[in-house]
């Protein structure tokens, strides 16, 4: 650079200081304070003020870009939160679906009911067996009613498995009644020649419950009379 043709620009250290200060404001995202400083500094018009102006334009644009970015980021965060909530819902629903596929209800003291609805495939019938047998043991059930009123169609092997499930229940010392067999499944069962001896089947869940009540009635009467005797002997 030639010293004679291009004169030096004289800048007071105060102006230089304020530009440095403005820069440090900008570096910590304090764009408003930065711009205010530059505006005050830019009152003198000379070559250095061009630099100040350019700097202030740059800072303004940077500020705008930054706030735009912040807006987008916060929007994105909101979307992410929403997605996470949805995922959580899906996970809960998946768990609910799994649970609902084998609901076992204790309909009466030591009487379990497994209402089967929907689509029964081989895996589901295997799961049902497992859950039913475990529940019979844990609840010390004396009777399990498997109600298949809600099932129109079953594969022959799956139907066969239901009968095996009934036998497994008997092995545990409980009784298994299959209720609500529809004509289609009745045909399926006889068609594949399943041995139905010892398997109690009833038309409806209601019939199954009535049967249980009739059978336990005697027992209950017996227990009541025992209790009455005990009370009277104590009294």
């Amino acid at each position: 650079m030639s010293e004679s043709e291009e004169p030096n620009v004289v800048v007071t250290s105060e102006r230089l200081q304020s530009v440095i200060e403005a820069l440090s404001y900008a570096s910590v995202d304090e764009f408003d304070s930065c711009l205010a400083l530059l505006q005050r500094a830019g009152e003198t018009k000379d070559e250095f003020s061009e630099l100040e102006t350019a700097f202030s334009i740059f800072v303004r644009e940077l500020g705008e870009a930054k706030s735009e970015l912040n807006r987008t980021v916060s929007q994105q965060e909101a979307i992410n939160r929403e997605l996470e909530a949805k995922l959580e819902t899906i996970e809960m629903q998946q768990a609910a679906i799994r649970e609902l596929s084998t609901p076992i209800i204790e309909v009466w003291a030591s009487v379990l009911c497994l209402p089967v609805v929907g689509i029964v495939d081989s895996q589901r019938s295997a799961e049902m067996t497992e859950t039913l047998l475990e529940t019979i043991v844990s609840k010390q059930a004396r009777m399990a009613i498997v109600d298949i009123t809600g099932i129109d169609v079953m594969d022959t092997k799956t139907a066969d498995h239901f009968i095996k499930m009934a036998r497994a229940v008997r092995l545990l010392g409980a009784e298994c009644i299959i209720s609500g067999i529809n004509p289609g499944i009745a045909q399926t069962l006889t068609h594949i020649g399943v041995d139905l001896t010892g398997i109690r089947t009833l038309r409806s869940l209601r019939d199954a419950l009535q049967l249980y009540l009739r059978e336990t009635e005697q027992l209950v009467v017996h227990q009541h009379s025992q209790l009455a005797r005990k009370l009277s002997s104590e009294g």
């Binding site: 629903q93 998946q94 768990a95 679906i97 799994r98 596929s101 929907g118 689509i119 029964v120 495939d121 081989s122 895996q123 589901r124 019938s125 295997a126 799961e127 497992e130 129109d152 169609v153 079953m154 594969d155 022959t156 092997k157 799956t158 498995h161 289609g184």
Partner: protein
């Protein structure tokens, strides 16, 4: 009317349940009788359960093609990236997998009956199998009558 395909990604058990119940609706909408729609749902359920159990991950594709002669057909395709089926005919035999009879204890451990593909073969009109790059496809066809 154009052939319409629905895709259900299968990763876990609940996906299989959803795919099966949706396929039943699809079959009913296509005009299949109730009983047939239920059989289709069982097939979808078996195939989807197999994907969850053996196929690592995959998807069920259900296509209703009304123009397929004579009265249209519903095609269930089970795609997965698991190992190929060694011997399909053997695998379709109840109590067998693709290499031979399954040990009853193993059947219990697999939490199934070993009759899934057998059920598929019994309930649909035609089963096809092909290997693709990076996976396999089991196809079950239901002809509308």
């Amino acid at each position: 009317m154009q052939a319409e395909t629905r895709v259900y990604p299968i990763r876990e058990r609940s996906n299989a349940i959803v795919a099966a119940s949706q396929s039943r609706r699809l079959a009913l909408a296509a005009g299949l009788p109730t009983r047939r729609a239920m059989e289709l749902a069982i097939v979808v359920s078996e195939l989807a359960s197999n994907i969850v159990k053996h196929g690592v991950k995959g998807e069920i594709r259900i296509t209703w093609d009304p123009d397929s002669p004579p009265h249209g057909e519903l095609v269930v395709e089970a795609h997965d990236v698991g190992p190929p089926i060694h011997d399909l005919e053997l695998a379709m035999t109840d109590g067998y997998d693709d290499r031979g009879p399954i040990d009853p204890a193993l059947i219990l451990r697999r939490r199934g009956l070993g009759t899934g593909l057998g059920a598929v073969a019994r309930l649909c009109d035609r089963v096809e199998y092909r290997q693709e790059e990076g996976g396999k496809v089991v196809t079950a066809r239901f002809f509308a009558r």
